[in-house]
Amino acid sequence: MGFVLIVHAVVGTGLLLRARTGRAATLVALLAPVTALVWWAANLGTVLDGGVVTEVHRWVPTLDLAVDLRFDGFAALMVLIVSGIGVAVFAYSWSYFDAAAPLGRVMGLLTLFSGAMLGVVLADNLILLYGFWELTSVTSFLLIGDRYRDAAARSAALQAILVTGAGGVAMLFGFVILGVEAGTYRLSTILADPPAGAAVTAALLLIAVGAFTKSAQYPFHSWLPAAMVAPTPISTYLHSATMVKAGVYLVARLAPAFAVVATGWRPLVVVVGLVSMVAGALRALRQHDLKLLLAYGTISQLGFMMVLFGVGLEATSLAGCAVILGHALFKATLFMVVGIVDHGTGTRDVRHLPALGREWRTTRAVAVVAAASMAGVPLTFGFIAKELGFQGMLDASMTGNGVVLGVLVFGSALTAAYAARFVAGLYGAYRVATPTGAPAAADPTSPAAPRLHAPSRSFLAPAAVLSVLTLVFGVAPALLDGLVGEAASSLAGVVVDAHLALWHGITTALGLSAIAVLGGALLFLWRSRVDRLLAVGSRLPSGNDGYHASVAGLLGGADRVTGVVQNGSMPVYLGVILVTAMVLPGTALLLDAPWDGWPQLVDSWVQVALVAVLLSVALGAAIVRHRLSAALLLGVAGYAMAGLFVVQGAPDLALTQAAVETLSTVLFVLALRRLPSRFERRSTPVTRTLRLAVSAVVGITVFGFALAASSDVQPRHVADEIVERALPDGHGRNVVNVILVDFRGLDTLGEISVVAVAAIGAVALARAGRRPRGEPRPSTAGPGGTPRHAFVEVVVRALVYITVTVSLYLLVAGHNDPGGGFVGGLVAGAAVALRYIAGGLDDVRRMVRTRPWSILGAGLLLATLTATVPLLFGHPVLENGSWDLALPLLGDVTITSALLFDTGVYLVVVGLVFMVFEAFGGEATRESDQTEPPEQPDELVEREEREEART
């Protein structure tokens, strides 16, 4: 079996890849269903002897998902239908499609579909079945929409996939519940020993939804008529003969096991089936388009099968098997005939159909036979099947089978009526005289009136063969005893011996059949009256309304929800985030907070003073409306922090904090100096109160959390061990620095890479839209614009040299005393700042010959290399090494790799400072900057290169 599926996959994909193939595609495509039929014939024997052919390939054992194929009686029947009709349709396509048109895509998709459909009927694993099921939906979607330039085709395709897709996911949910309840996803095992319970019932209802959508049952039916925009071969194959039967197939499989177990399931399926049967037929009776008539007929017939299979008893299942085959035969034929007529006359509308002359004799004959079978006229297989159905319902040990039977007969009568309407239509009973007299032209939707031509033999052949079969099985139904019997048995799980016969004597069933046919005849004769009645019914809302209402509702609802949550305002986003971040843990703490009294109130009075300063300037920064003073206040807050660090006993931290604060204040001033100096007050009282509320929540939660966290403090095992090992193993007295470059060197490595990339980003942003350097500037003076003075020059140079030396000292000494690469770098940065204040950007640029980029790169590279080198010698990354060298003057010095690492840090920081001045240092902007658009990034690169050239 797997082999057959693979053939379909290969042929299908091959055709898709050769999308431009012409007619030949149909012949290539035939390969697939023919292979399937051959395989079918080869294995039929086993099945007819009551055996099954199984084949299992592992896929995801952990999830109990396997390619688990099972060929039993019912599967055999379905494969025959799928591949048999497949052969007919593919052959039909040869003549149907325009010889010149590229067919690769359509035929490829059709082949893939037929493979997927075979998968559905062969799969013995629920999830696998679902998979193939969805594949049939996709292929159907792509096929309906294949002529995508036509809006009708597009929307029909969308409607089809959305409706069946919705049913599909519901079905998957049902399958999963069923599988979990049964402890396996293997269908045959589940059916052999069906689980029970509320969950199972829910599962089956969900599955039923899937089946209804797929088999176009009310109220989900409306996608099927819409799908009729597709070319006839597609409608024939997918939307009458095979795909729409998938739902029926599923019900047929599940019903015998669950019809009784799952309370409420059987009534649901039966009622939906009956409604669809009657409503579909009534709709069919009103159609003028032959194709739509057949489409509604299909809905009605599928309803009939739903009822028969849904009951889930041997007799009814047997009948169902007969009906499913009979329907495939006559409905495929009728569709093909409609295609032929459409092809030959340019219309399918019975009101515009021209008179079909003698040369159409055969076509008409074929149609009449098929229609008779649909109506259930004796000597056609349709009659046999239908009578089996009535018989089955008569014997059914089911409450209310009488009512069901009644409705079935009524439905059959309607079926007979629309069958008659179809034939009458072909014979021109509904033709309306058109002024032009050119019937085809009267139909606006038809292509420019083609000349009337009867079908070629090859065009009609497939349909003809099928209706011959209808007759043969109608006369000698016993031929099918084995197949249909085995199919029913495999469903029921017990041996059902079938005796399909034309004549059972005068039975109630025969009477019912007679009533149905004659009733149909009457309905047809009184059609004028009937039509008036039906016209009333047409005012009721259709499934189509439901579909469009729900789509519109969905889109509208989505807009509303999204409009509310995704309102595009950052303050709101931040507010929500902060509140969530506080409320969730806050509640947990409130529910049971660990609380053993207040900890120590105050450590030292210096702290109190510092905190007072800190908070007051913080408040100031929040309140003042003057940009720069706000920035300066933030700076002061930073220094207060540094003070707190000192009190806490963290000199390195204090140093860093102070240096960082200085630099960032400078940054602020540089970056914001040109922005309007004041923030205008714009927020409304409401928003301000909200803001205050959020801030209050945040403050309180943080406070509470901090106290709770410090309520039971555990021993500082990590810190103690680090302090202990810093000097002996870390070769440094300054524990903090040892941690930074050694214990947690990796953090530092990451940290400097952050700094480096931030610097790059800042320059890229600030530089975009700035005049390339090297062009003459109005003045080389600093931001102060003060003229340069020799004395100032000397002092500045001196200061710069001093600061640089200090910074180097801090770098080297850092390992044992407060300092380290980072602080060192920042101090060096201060030197740069000095230069800037004195001489502006040009002076800064003159300080070093290399680009700041290279400084950054070198630093990062050095640090990373010191981290990587140990790997080469089989040591762990970042491991520290130390070398003792005897240097002239200095004597013996130990160089630790930590120092190299720290130098890397130093360089990165220096690089950063240079970059920062590059970014903000230039005379911030000229009028031209606001007008000129952000310069083309290309120029950015070019500028880089020009700069290279200059240095």
């Binding site: 070319p231 189509n544 595009g568 913080a618 006993g649 801030s695 943080v702 300054n734």
Partner: protein, 144 residues
């Protein structure tokens, strides 16, 4: 940690939040500055306070806990780098729009104000009327 410092950190968080919830980027940046101060304060005070953590300064038990100091230092540096980037953003935004206002997201506004036109969903919304009254849809054959 002492109640005082916990309170200080909490207050910094509160004030920072108030600033962050505004529209002017330069205010937001100041707010973030305060928030990070709060975070760093929490981080530092997570460790024992004492003498500077220099071996030999005193008995190891009197030294301050060096680990949080190292962590805080890293944090400070990182936030510094990112703040520089953020300033560059403000600067750029001013170059482009003469302002550092954080504007609404326009596409979101469209949908909020029902301007999220579903022009692209025509196919979904289009009704095939002929399915309700019995008018035939387009002829099913390829024009030959």
């Amino acid at each position: 940690m002492s109640v005082l410092l916990a309170g200080a950190a909490a207050a910094l968080f509160a004030i920072g939040t108030y600033l962050v919830l505004q529209r002017k980027l330069s205010r937001i940046i100041i707010g973030i500055g305060l928030l990070t101060h709060g975070g760093n304060l929490l981080l530092l005070t997570a460790g024992r306070r004492g003498l500077p953590a220099l071996i030999g300064e005193g008995d190891p038990s009197e030294l301050s806990d060096p680990v949080p100091q190292a962590l805080t230092l890293t944090a400070i540096v990182i936030t510094f780098g990112v703040t520089a980037l953020l300033l560059a953003l403000a600067y750029r935004s001013w170059l482009l729009s003469r302002d550092d206002e954080v504007e609404h997201d326009l596409s979101d506004l469209d949908i909020l104000l029902g301007r999220g036109s579903h022009e692209d969903d025509a196919d979904l919304l289009e009704r095939l009327e002929q399915l309700d009254d019995a008018e035939p849809p387009a002829s099913g054959t390829d024009p030959t």
